[in-house]
């Protein structure tokens, strides 16, 4: 929601995004200002395109509202967005889903379709399948540290609306004679999307595979620049000059990403990063998830950032289908004593969201799920991956695995595991007029739209892109979500922000 115009002599207009809301208008009315808006309009901004294959609603609090407060407003907008998408790209014939929110969205879509029976869509469908996934079906993935290039940029610096702000030191213009004289103090702001050739190539790679690509690129580019010495004729020179802008762009792009990679490398090679990752991977591979972890204890004792602690504890809880009451209480007490008792509300929120919970029934389902869905792969190839597990160097994101298994061989093969995950799983079909039914050419890819309700991480997106590019995959994925998240922003959105009044 935004206001336009500030000075009192001006006309005031109000434009509601994503929609005009009764509550908002009523509040404005109570404040006595509703009448002073000349125009009150709404702009139905549901899904915003972020990249060629990525749409997001950027609804910050969607997860919290849905799972903590039972406020499904964002799901209504998601359904609206999907209807708009269908109006533009044709009715999606198949809808699959897992989770309560997914069910709710599918129900609303079917209902909305019924509300406009006459407006039979005559557009040839672009999407074959829609997969709706609740974030709470896979609480684990966002908690783990993403290890793709883009994922790490997001984990460390935070990508906001495709922009990232980076410490400026590494980006100082290198000029002879005045090295290090006046370093820029403003953070370096860079836009990150697939329009940049190099970034498109490396964004979804495991970070350990980025270095070799960068050095290969560096060689190619300098070789290209060297060619000018070989240019003899005017024609050759002309051709060289015509390629110059492209080459220069490539060179500056390479310089930027080399700097970013260096920045990230400083962090990924640190002992602390390594220890943290080791613990995460132990949990995800099912080692010692049932007892108090020393590393976490030490981190609390040294008062490491609270969010880091919460991510680890939640990860352990999820990987153990809940913690033993004693272990859980111990962690909670440690956290409250170290970081302050006010965090009792945050802990309560995490429990409500199912991220932190006591083990009930004494049964740990996670090993079964892990084995059936092959969530942990010991023989991971980071350089030339053959499985999605490369995005977390061993852990294959559950959500993406579900998408992969849906495409082949289908969910029927994993009924048992699906039952262990929260919420119903379902399939709906939307009738298409006979003329619009697809006759598939041999070798033509199916297009699946995966909608993450409650947020998606860059690593998951990378994994889906990897599946799209697999030669024998047969499925191309487009990703939509309520919000692009990582473990930190996600946990932060669930924290109760208490600012005690100063005494």
């Amino acid at each position: 929601r935004e206001d336009r115009g500030r000075s009192p002599q001006r006309d005031f207009h109000i434009l509601f995004v994503p929609r005009r809301s009764l509550l908002c208008e009523q509040w404005l009315k109570e404040q006595g200002v509703l009448g002073s808006f000349i125009h009150r309009e709404q702009y139905s901004l549901d899904l915003i395109p972020f990249d060629g294959d990525l749409l997001s609603m950027e609804s910050e609090s969607a997860f919290k509202e849905c799972y903590l407060e039972s406020d499904q407003t964002s799901l209504y907008h998601a359904a609206k967005g999907l209807m708009t998408l269908q109006a533009l790209y044709g009715t999606i014939p198949q809808i699959f889903g897992k989770g309560d929110c997914a069910r709710h969205v599918a129900n609303m879509m079917i209902r909305m379709k019924r509300e406009f029976p006459g407006s039979q869509n005559s557009i040839f469908p672009v999407f074959d399948t829609l997969l709706l996934l609740d974030r709470n079906v896979d609480l684990l993935t966002p908690l783990a540290t993403q290890l793709t290039y883009e994922g790490l940029i997001d984990e460390i610096y935070g990508i906001q609306n495709t922009y990232v702000k980076l410490p400026p030191e590494k980006f100082a213009p290198k000029k002879q004679g005045e090295g290090g004289k006046d370093l820029p103090t403003e953070p370096k702001k860079l836009q990150l999307n697939s329009a940049e050739e190099l970034y498109a190539e490396i964004r979804d790679k495991n970070f350990n595979a980025v270095g070799s690509v960068l050095s290969k690129k560096a060689k190619i580019i300098s070789a290209a620049f060297e060619e000018r010495h070989h240019a003899k004729t005017v024609g050759e020179i002309k051709q060289f000059v015509s390629q110059l802008p492209h080459m220069q762009a490539a060179r500056s792009s390479l310089a930027n990403h080399t700097s970013i990679a260096e920045l990230i490398k400083d962090i990924t090679t640190s002992e602390d990063f390594f220890d943290n990752l080791t613990v995460e991977q132990e949990f995800m591979s099912g080692i010692d998830t049932d007892k108090v972890n020393n590393y976490i204890e030490d981190c609390i004792a040294q008062k490491h950032p609270l969010i880091k602690i919460l991510r680890l504890v939640c990860l352990q809880s999820v990987c153990n289908s809940g913690l033993k009451q004693k272990v859980l209480d111990h962690y909670k007490r440690e956290i409250l004593q170290t970081y302050g008792y006010e965090h009792i509300l945050t802990l309560n929120n995490l429990e409500k969201a199912g991220l932190l919970k006591p083990q009930t029934g004494g049964r740990n389902n996670y090993p079964t799920i892990r084995k059936t869905l092959r969530l942990w792969m010991d023989d991971v190839n980071e350089q030339n991956p053959n499985d999605i597990s490369y995005v977390y160097s061993g852990y294959a994101p559950l959500s993406v695995r579900l998408a992969q298994l849906l495409a082949r061989p289908g969910w029927r093969s994993i009924e048992e595991v699906l039952k262990m995950l929260p919420g119903p799983h379902f399939e709906e079909r939307q009738q298409l007029p006979t003329g619009l039914q697809k006759k598939r050419q041999h070798g033509e890819n199916r297009v699946t739209l995966v909608f993450f309700l409650g947020g998606v991480t860059y690593a998951e997106i990378a994994a889906l892109r990897f599946l799209s590019q697999m030669e024998d995959g047969g499925t191309e994925y487009i990703i939509a979500t309520t919000k692009l998240i990582n473990g930190t922003t996600w946990i932060k959105s669930l924290m109760e922000k208490l600012e005690p009044a100063p005494f």
Binding site: S70, E115, A301, K303, L336, T338, Y341, F503
Partner: protein, 839 residues
């Protein structure tokens, strides 16, 4: 063909007029028209008739108000029970306006059903209506009234009633012999004649203008009659000398003057012109004769066998009498060209050619060749198509269209749309001109009216099947065509009181089904307005759009049903609409009870309260004994307190709730928190340093930093801080303080639960390698290499690594060796590693 022009009457050189019979009237009227108040709506509209009104004023005999179609079929009639009627008129939307003597205007639909009434103001009420006129402008339908006080009152749009009293006419002693309403440049005025003067009463400027028509012969006597054209552009005046002045309505230009030789004023005088025609003619009607006069020394005269009534139209005049309904109009150019005797126009030749062709005569070719030689075939086809539109007789239409079609065959790439459109339009026109329907629209009027308005008129006449067939025939989009008409039908259907709710609802659903663009809620609204709430609810069941159901249900006070529908839709804003409505409608108790049964609404209301009414939230949780949330709320509230006592009290409340919720952990934690707060206040007072709102960890750390080791120890015991954490905390704090002595003492106080590597790490972190070295030897062997590396003692580190025969550790040490200074050490390590790898 000769007979075709038999009814053509020339006026001047160029123009012809013809009078053709539209219908023979079915109405079996006994009275003369002059004994009735008559009003016929333009565009072939219905005719309203009030019989007996003047002759028989005995109150016992109720006059009858009747409405007929243009063909004389009775649509409806009703005994006139209201006051004395002065004037009848039709609105643009075909509502009948009945203007009473007291200034009340009653509005009826064309089935004599009373719709509403309005008054023309107090002045009119007091002085009564002397004369009245209904007029049409771009603003809508207006009413002008001349009162008994000889003042004019006027309303330009009866749907947006704004009464205006026009300025007084100086010297007006009796009702003027004639007056009319003029609309020019968006201003509505009254033009009236008094003797030889014309007065213009301006509605807006309140001025009285005196005008004299230009070029009027000075001998012309007082004005007796005035007529304004259909489009308000032309004006005709009749003087008592018998001459007619014709000019523009602005009174700036004169077209012509004609002396009729009849001195008595005509009963009616109306314009009879065609849009874009050069000839402008006026029709005058006396008792027994009709005269068409224009810019010509001659005039056309018709004898009237019966008492007649003239209805001006856009392109002619309709003449109503007891037995017939005729149309008098100027022959349009295209028809003239084709049908004029001995015409050599391309259209005429084409028509002739086609006829010869049918006779299989070679003349067809001759005619055709003649047209084609002049390269006029496209014009010929165009003329035939156009002329077909002006014909009333389907046979003539057909022969013209046949000629056009014949001509088309000899043309390449003649666009077919015009021909197809004309065929379609004529089918529609012929259908509605049928005497059963009785809408005698001409092609020109039809185009002016548009198909949408025509459909509306059919709907008004409840001719739903015909309207739907026209829509289907013209392939109009469903939303504008069939669906809209079905919806109108349904709205009419719900008014049928003799059928049960169930029957009506089913009948409607059967016919409408899921037709696109049907709004069941609109139909339901109509049902509700007719007082059939049950039927409305039944109809709403068919409405697929919850957003549409909810407002009506709320209006009908079915809020709970509305709540259900809103929730079904998933539209949270809609749920809020109902919830807030319920909140105002119900008392708090039953409001809460209602929410209790609707979890979705309840959680949304909670969300609302979370942001706007915290206190209500408490009540809500209280109601479902949700102690956990109540506790949380108290905690939240505690942090808004400005004073520590308030915080403690709130926390105490939270504590109670947590116990009730059987959440022992939270209760204990809160208890601890209270304890800590009290302690912090104590410390703050005693040590004069801010302690409040520090976490337990930070409190202890601050105490150690300030050297209050005893107190720190006390807290460690009181709050049962785990040893490991306490040790970490303490050495960190001591190192920060730089109290290495105390740290060493502490390290020796008992066996460290966290080992001794942290000591090394902490010391190194605070750049004190000397201290760090003290602890390195105490680190257990498996961490010793790391410890020595940290303190920078590579020699020892290498020893330890080799001792442990650990390849990774050796590599770690090696990586720290610089070739210059540690060359020998590196060599040793390399050798040891090589040996290790050999095995």
């Amino acid at each position: 063909m000769d007979c075709y022009t038999a009814n053509w009457n020339p006026l001047g050189e160029e123009t012809f007029y013809r009078k053709l019979e539209l219908y023979s009237m079915e109405w079996g009227l006994r009275e003369d028209l002059r004994d009735c108040v008559v009003a016929a709506a333009p565009y072939g509209g219905p005719i309203a008739l009030l019989r007996n009104s003047r002759r028989d004023k005995t109150p016992s005999a109720r006059p009858l108000l009747e409405i007929y179609s243009a063909s004389g079929l009775l649509l409806a009639s009703v005994p006139w029970k209201s006051g004395h009627l002065v004037h009848l008129g039709w609105t643009a939307g075909e509502d009948l306006l009945c203007i009473q003597e007291d200034g009340t205007v009653l509005v009826y639909n064309l089935f004599c059903e009373f719709k509403r009434h309005f008054s023309m103001g107090n002045e009119v009420l007091q002085n009564h209506v002397l004369e009245a006129q209904v007029f049409h402008t771009e603003f809508g339908t207006g009413v002008a009234i001349l009162t008994g006080a000889l003042r004019f009152s006027l309303a330009t749009n009866i749907d947006d009633l704004k009464l205006r009293r026009l300025p007084e006419v100086p010297g007006l002693q009796k009702a003027p012999p004639c007056w009319t309403v003029l609309a020019q440049d968006r201003v509505t005025m009254v033009l009236l004649a008094m003797g030889q003067e014309l007065f213009l009463l301006d509605n807006t400027s309140c001025s009285v203008l005196v005008r004299r028509p230009p070029g009027l012969s000075p001998s012309a006597g007082p004005f007796l009659h005035v007529a304004v054209s259909f489009t308000h552009r032309l004006l005709a005046l009749f003087c008592d000398s018998g001459s007619v002045w014709m000019g523009t309505a602005s009174l700036k230009e004169k077209f012509c003057e004609f002396n009729t030789g009849i001195r008595s004023p005509p009963k009616q005088m109306v314009w009879c012109t065609r849009p874009r025609s050069r000839q402008r003619a006026v029709v005058l009607a006396w008792e027994r004769q009709l005269m068409v006069v224009g810019n010509s020394s001659e005039c056309i005269r018709f004898v009237l066998d019966e008492d007649s009534y003239l209805v001006p139209e856009l392109d002619g005049v309709r003449i109503l009498s007891r037995s017939t309904h005729e149309f008098l109009h100027e022959i349009p150019e295209a028809s003239q060209e084709i049908f004029r005797i001995a015409s050599m126009a391309p259209g005429a030749l084409l028509l002739e050619a086609q006829k010869e062709y049918e006779k299989e005569s070679q003349k067809a070719d001759e005619y055709l060749r003649e047209i084609r030689e002049q390269q006029l075939l496209p014009e010929a086809v165009g003329q035939c198509i156009e002329a077909a539109g002006y014909e009333h007789e389907p046979e003539t239409q057909k022969s013209l269209l046949r000629a056009a079609s014949f001509g088309k065959c000899f043309l390449d790439k003649f666009p077919p749309e015009g021909f197809v459109r004309m065929c379609q339009d004529l089918r529609v026109l012929n259908a509605i001109r049928d005497y059963q329907i009785g809408i005698p629209l001409t092609f020109t009027q039809y185009k002016q009216l548009t198909i949408e308005v025509l459909l509306d008129r059919l709907v008004l006449r409840r001719l739903y099947p015909l309207a739907i067939r026209i829509c289907e025939f013209l392939r109009l989009p469903e939303m504008q065509g069939v669906s809209r008409i079905l919806a109108h039908w349904a709205c009419y259907k719900v008014q049928q009181k003799d059928k049960s709710d169930e029957e009506v609802a089913q009948a409607i659903n059967q016919k409408l089904g899921d037709t696109a663009g049907i709004s069941y809620s609109d139909i339901a609204t109509r049902a509700y307005d007719c007082g059939r709430a049950e039927l409305a609810i039944k109809l709403l069941e068919y409405e697929p759009r919850s957003g549409e159901q909810v407002p009506l249900l709320l209006k009908m006070k079915r809020s709970k049903l509305a709540l259900g529908k809103a929730i079904e839709s998933g539209d949270t804003d809609l749920v809020y609409t109902v919830v807030l409505h319920l909140k105002n409608e119900l008392n708090r108790g039953s409001f809460f009870m209602t929410l209790q049964n609707q979890p979705v609404a309840l959680s949304l209301y909670r969300q609302f309260c979370r942001h706007q009414e915290r206190e209500t939230l408490k009540d809500l949780y209280n109601q479902d004994d949700n102690h956990q949330e109540l506790g949380n709320l108290h905690v939240l509230g505690g942090y808004c307190q400005k004073r520590i006592e308030g915080r403690v009290a709130a926390l105490q409340n939270a504590l109670d709730e947590f116990y009730k919720a059987k959440n022992d952990f939270a209760a204990k934690a809160t208890e601890e928190q209270i304890k800590l707060l009290r302690l912090q206040r104590h410390l703050q007072e005693e040590l004069d340093k801010p302690y409040l709102d520090l976490s337990l960890h930070d409190t202890v750390a601050t105490l150690i930093l300030d050297g209050h080791h005893k107190r720190a120890e006390q807290l460690y015991r009181d709050f049962r801080i785990p040893d490991k954490r306490y040790w970490w905390l303490k050495i960190n704090a001591l190192a920060t303080r730089g109290d290495w002595e105390e740290m060493e003492k502490f390290s020796k106080s008992k066996k460290s639960p966290i080992g001794y590597l942290p000591f090394v790490e902490v010391a190194v972190k605070h750049h004190n390698r000397y201290e760090a070295k003290k602890y390195a030897p105490r680190v257990p062997p498996e961490q010793r290499v790391k410890a020595f590396v940290l303190v920078g003692d590579l020699e020892q580190a290498a020893e330890a690594a080799m001792e442990r025969k650990n390849e990774a550790e050796m590599s770690l040490v090696l990586s720290r060796c610089s070739p210059g200074t540690d060359g020998a050490l590196a060599e040793r390590l390399n050798r040891a590693r090589a040996q290790l790898l050999k095995k």
